[in-house]
């Protein structure tokens, strides 16, 4: 039924001269987004709102939640989801994919080098002082040789597009990157709502992520084992990403275990079954290094398994990601990745870093202290958008507090220019408005090679003008559509449900 005032829902959409992922500056839709915009324009705004609400209900019903620390209820919230996807053209994705593969290759080599000969330090590319003060360097990992010399099996790299139209790497998440379950469930919900657009648009599928993850993990098992037993190790239901742990275990058809379900004897890991004990060969651990084994790391951890690290060292169990990767998941080390690419591969970085000032360097520190109102200052080791100063939005008091902190502990701070992130149309009340987004693709690195999930999690800052996209601070997500290059590339052609 037509409503009386039937205007095009995107009729009044204004990109406000900020790079928009779906629209050109002159207001015409970008190529890959054309069919989608046509579809949305054919609906009244009421229908759109209706559809968004139906999606929200579906998420609630499926229990797709995360836990927000510090919130009053301290319980589950639905991770807000917006129905307008981000669209990535095929040629651009090719560029991103190549850049990510290059980067993860280098990060693995760096980590391996750091825990062995440290050639990159000896050759003066990365200063020793920076490494010595790195909070996540684990001396327990020195000299270890994980299968295939691969340390980061699952990586989530955050990308942004700046106002110059180029894609930059914001940071690498090499420890326990989360969010892929939202990617998969968001896609499921979107397919139910926009089946025709999927059929016509040739969007690349994401549903094979669990089976790819499974093969990556299976490939890590000691070679003589025919059918390895693989488990997902979770801290438990009160962890903010619990839903994802459970979802991935279910999708891969493997057990979800907690520390107390495992026991180590004679250097082998076993799980407690109703009919006895069963040996475990590969553990996809979603637990920080510090908590995995009270005998090797934090002694007060109740979440880990005593003796696990010893079993790992002996090669009796494989851990993904390997302990010790945190050394590269550090915002200061991040600044050296372009140098690493040149050093290990003799290549230029395909994806650039955001220009970064390292406060440990005298020159950089002076610049940062005198331009606090223009820069974004980040603490090297805190995640989730905490420990961050957004210069242009800050008060004088906040700036002076940060100035103090930087001078106290310069090694721990970096600064970057304020970026103008690109935007995607997002439902705001009864209209579409642009909201800033970033993109987190997921990269699997196993013995057979490196695979990048086509797309990833587009995180959106739901508050108008905000640049903070993290789930823990009021961000939301969108589906990400990577267009297929040609007829041969698989598409989401199958009908929904």
């Amino acid at each position: 039924m037509q409503s009386q005032t039937q205007t095009m829902t995107f009729g009044n959409y204004d990109t406000e001269r900020i790079h928009d992922e779906l629209f050109h500056e002159n207001g015409t839709p970008r190529n890959g987004a054309r069919l989608l915009i046509e579809q949305l324009n054919s609906m009244s705004i009421d229908e759109v709102i209706h559809r968004q609400q139906a999606m929200d209900r579906a998420l609630m019903q499926m229990g797709i939640t995360f836990t927000v620390y510090g919130a009053e209820e301290g319980t589950e919230k639905i991770f807000p989801f917006d129905l307008v996807p981000r669209v990535v053209e095929a040629f651009e994705w090719g560029h991103i994919e190549a850049g990510l593969k290059q980067r993860i290759q280098v990060l693995n080599r760096f980590i391996h080098d750091i825990y062995h000969e440290q050639e990159i330090i000896k050759d003066g590319v990365v200063p020793r002082s920076l490494l010595e003060q790195a909070k996540s360097f684990r001396h327990q990992c020195v000299g270890l040789n994980p299968p295939g010399e691969i340390w980061c099996h699952v990586t989530g790299t955050d990308l942004i597009r700046h106002s110059d139209g180029a894609i930059y790497v914001l940071e690498d998440n090499l420890r326990c990157p989360s969010g892929v379950s939202y990617v998969l469930q968001n896609r499921l919900i979107m397919k139910r709502s926009f089946p025709q657009v999927f059929m016509a648009s040739k969007v690349r599928p994401v549903t094979d992520y669990p089976s790819r993850l499974y093969s990556t993990l299976a490939g890590l098992a000691p070679p003589h084992i025919g059918e390895p037993t693989i488990v997902v190790l979770t801290p438990g239901i009160y962890n903010s990403a619990y839903y994802e742990h459970s979802f991935l275990a279910q999708q891969m058809g493997i057990e979800l275990v907690e520390g107390s379900d495992l026991v180590v004897r004679d250097g082998f890991v076993y799980m407690r079954n109703t009919n006895g004990f069963r040996r475990v060969d590969v553990i996809y651990r979603r637990l920080d290094d510090d908590f995995i084994d009270p005998q090797a790391f934090r002694a007060d951890s109740m979440l880990g398994v005593p003796g696990l690290f010893d079993a790992y060292r002996r090669g009796h169990v494989a851990l993904a990601n390997a302990p010790g990767t945190g050394v590269a998941d550090d915002k200061v080390i991040y600044a050296f990745v372009p140098e690493m690419i040149r050093y290990y591969l003799n290549e230029e970085p395909i994806l650039p870093n955001v220009p970064t000032y390292i406060c440990d360097r005298e020159e950089d520190r002076q610049y940062v202290l005198s331009h606090l109102d223009e820069l974004v200052v980040k603490s090297a080791n805190e995640a989730g958008g905490y420990g961050m100063l957004i210069g242009p939005a800050s008060t004088a008091e906040q700036r002076s507090e940060f100035a103090f902190r930087i001078q106290q502990d310069p090694r721990n701070y970096i600064a970057q220019p304020t970026l103008c992130l690109s935007r995607v149309p997002t439902l705001a009340g009864e209209r579409f408005e642009g909201r800033h987004v970033d993109l987190r693709p997921y990269i699997l690195c196993g013995k057979e090679g490196i695979w990048v999930l086509p797309g990833g999690l587009t995180r959106v800052a739901l508050v108008k003008g905000s640049l903070v996209v993290n789930s823990s601070q009021g961000g939301g997500s969108k589906d990400t559509w990577v267009m297929a290059r040609n007829e041969e590339e698989a598409v989401e052609a199958e009908t929904t449900l």
Partner: protein, 316 residues
């Protein structure tokens, strides 16, 4: 399967069954009072007795009235066995093992829980009370149905079945015990309409009224006891529950018939065998209350044995 997961599935099933049974008791009492409004007090107190949590209730609420009993049993978050507490625990258990049960089962139990929580805040009229308990019963049926229709009959489903049948056997015996205890002393009531109404209410509380009638027609105390305890075909009868529970237990362990390989099988086997060869006369001679008391103790021992055999932390 993981001991912890089996434990959660077992208790998820038990808590849902517990919530359903409580809703049934309340519903039947509400129904009965419509026929005998002046006997209201007499009807609510036995309900509290049936839970076995009378001291807790007395301490916090004092004398039993329709309003406070219904609130205590349905929505009191501080009472561990209230319907809302049972649902919360069932859902929490389901959440920790959602990858082991089907996604449909999880979604339904989640919705059930969210709906019940939202119902707490609405003010209740007598009509809406009936609707509430009927819906609780229906949601529980739905959960059972989904579990049965979507879960492979592997170890997970068997533990769920074991849990719900043990809980059901316990609750059926409990309601019979309390009603018998409170109904029988009035010798002059035997054979009267009142008596009939009371026993009909008992049958309805286990959804057994029509089935009973098909088999026995007229109500006598003996037949009720025989039906609810010894019947092999009625799904809420104690004997039926134990038969099913034992089958599930043996499927889990793979033990052949008449052989036991752990304390749970031994105890459950013994109890089921006792019931298989029991007769109503001996039960009533020895005293129904004594019989039920003994039965419930043995059920508790079986529960302990299940825990020790399958769930408890063992050393390697």
């Amino acid at each position: 399967m993981l001991s912890r997961v089996a434990n959660s599935i077992y208790w998820m099933a038990r808590y849902i069954e517990r919530a359903e049974n409580l809703a049934r008791f309340i519903e039947v009492t509400l129904n009965f009072i419509l026929d005998r409004p002046d006997s209201s007090y007499e009807q609510w107190e036995p309900l509290i007795l049936a839970t076995g949590d009378e001291p807790d209730f007395k301490e916090r609420y004092g004398a039993a009235s329709a309003q406070n009993v219904v609130h205590f049993l349905t929505f009191d978050p501080d009472y561990g066995n209230s319907i809302v507490s049972c649902l919360t625990l069932a859902r929490e258990n389901a959440r920790t093992v959602r990858e082991a049960i089907s996604s449909e089962a999880w979604e339904q139990i989640n919705e059930f829980y969210l709906w019940l929580r939202a119902s707490q805040n609405r003010s209740m009229t007598l009509d809406s009370q009936f609707e509430l308990f009927q819906k609780i019963r229906m949601e529980s049926h739905l959960f059972s149905g989904i579990l049965d229709a979507t879960m492979s009959r592997g170890t997970g489903w068997q533990f769920a079945n074991l849990g719900r049948l043990i809980e059901r056997a316990d609750k059926t015996s409990r309601i019979l015990d309390v009603k018998y205890f409170t109904l029988l002393p009035k010798i002059e009531d035997v054979g009267t309409t009142i008596d009939d109404l009371q026993w009909s209410a008992v049958l309805r509380s286990v959804s057994g009224f029509e089935m009973f009638r098909k088999r026995y027609h007229a109500i006598t105390v003996r037949r009720i006891v025989e039906f609810l305890i010894l019947d092999r075909d009625f799904p809420r009868a104690v004997r039926f529950c134990l038969d099913g529970a034992e089958r599930s237990l043996r499927t889990i362990t793979g033990s052949p018939d008449s052989v036991y390989c752990n304390s749970a099988e031994q105890r459950l086997g013994q109890l089921r065998a006792n019931l298989s060869y029991a007769d109503v006369e001996s039960i009533i001679q020895a005293g129904l209350h004594e019989f039920v008391d003994d039965f419930q103790q043995k059920l508790n021992h079986i529960d302990d044995a299940i825990y020790d055999t399958f769930f408890a932390l063992r050393t390697l």
